[in-house]
C-alpha cells in the first residue's frame, strides 16, 4: 500500500525526481500521485521538457543570448 502524497510535496520533489535523487518509496508515492493528478503530471512533463529543451545545444546559443538579456538591466 502506497502512502498518499500531496501536490505540494510532489512539486517540492519534482526536480529531484527528474534527477533520480529520491528514495524508492518517494518515487513510488509520486508515480501513484501522477496517475490521478493531471495537474502535477503536467508540471512534471513541463519541467522535464524545460530540462530537455535547454539541454539541447542545437536549440540556440543560450549563454550568448542570456548575456545579451542580462546586460539590459531595468532602471529601478
Amino acid at each position: 500500500m502506497v502512502v498518499e502524497i500531496s501536490c505540494e510535496e510532489v512539486w517540492r520533489e519534482i526536480s529531484n525526481y527528474l534527477e533520480g535523487e529520491i528514495s524508492a518509496e518517494t518515487r513510488a508515492r509520486m508515480e501513484e500521485h501522477f496517475k490521478g493528478c493531471k495537474h502535477c503530471k503536467a508540471v512534471l512533463d513541463g519541467t522535464r521538457n524545460v530540462v530537455q529543451l535547454v539541454g539541447d545545444a542545437s536549440v540556440f546559443d543560450l549563454l550568448t543570448t542570456v548575456s545579451d538579456c542580462t546586460d539590459q538591466k531595468p532602471d529601478h
Binding site: E19, A42, V50, L53, V66
Partner: protein
Amino acid sequence: MNRIDQLDPTQGGHEILEVGVPPGSLATTSVVLTKRQGDASEAELIERVLGGDGEAFRELVRPCEHAVFMATKVILNNDADAEDAAQEAVLKAFTNLAKFRGDSRFSTWLVRIATNEALMKLRKQRYQKLHDSLDEQPEGEEGDYIPRDFADWREIPSEAVQKKELRQALSRALASLTPKHRDVFVLRDVQHFTIEETAQLLGIRKSAVKTRLLRARLRMRDALAPGIDGSWSTGRTEYEQVRPW
C-alpha cells in the same frame, strides 16, 4: 520681470525632479572654496551664482552643509545614502537657483530640498525592498514554489524548437531568473555539470543547488508553458490558462 519661479520644494519634489542637471554642474559645485563665508550677503552670493560664478555657489552652500547632511541622515539613517541625497539636493538647488523665491533663507530652502530628496530615496528604497521581498518569496530557499499554471505540456513539437519565438522566450525566461537561480540552472541544465560539480563551482552546498534548481526549473516551466500550450504547439494564438483553482 521677476526671475523667481513658482517652484516650491515642499510640494513633494516632483517638479524639481523634472529638472535636468546641466553638464559640468558637478564640477562647478566641487570647486574648492577660496573665499571665507560672510564675505558677501546671501543675496549677493545668489546674484553672483546666477551670473555664472560657481565659487559663489560653494560659498553659499558651505554654511548649510552640515544641516543638509543632518536632514538627510535623520531620514535615511545611513551615511552613504544621506550623502547621496545631500549631493542631489545641492545639485538641484544649483540648477533651480533662479527659481528660489527668496522669501526664506537659502539654507531653509536647501534643507527642504534635501528633506524631499531623502524622503524620495526612502520611498524608493522601501518600494525596492517590497518588490524584492515579493519577488523573493516564491524564490526563497525556505518557502515552497507554487507552480502558476498547470497547462498540459506533454511534448515539445519539433517545429516549435526551430521557432524564433521559442528562442526568444527561452532567453527572456532565463533572464527573468534571479542570478543565484540562473547560475545553478545554467551550470546543471545547460552545461550539464553534475549537482556536485555545480555545488563546487559555486561554493555552495549540494542541498542549496537542488533547492535552487527546483525553483529555476519550475519558474522556467511557468514562463514557457503559455507558448508551448498555445501558439507554438497548436497554432492557436490564444493561450488558455489551466489552473486547478
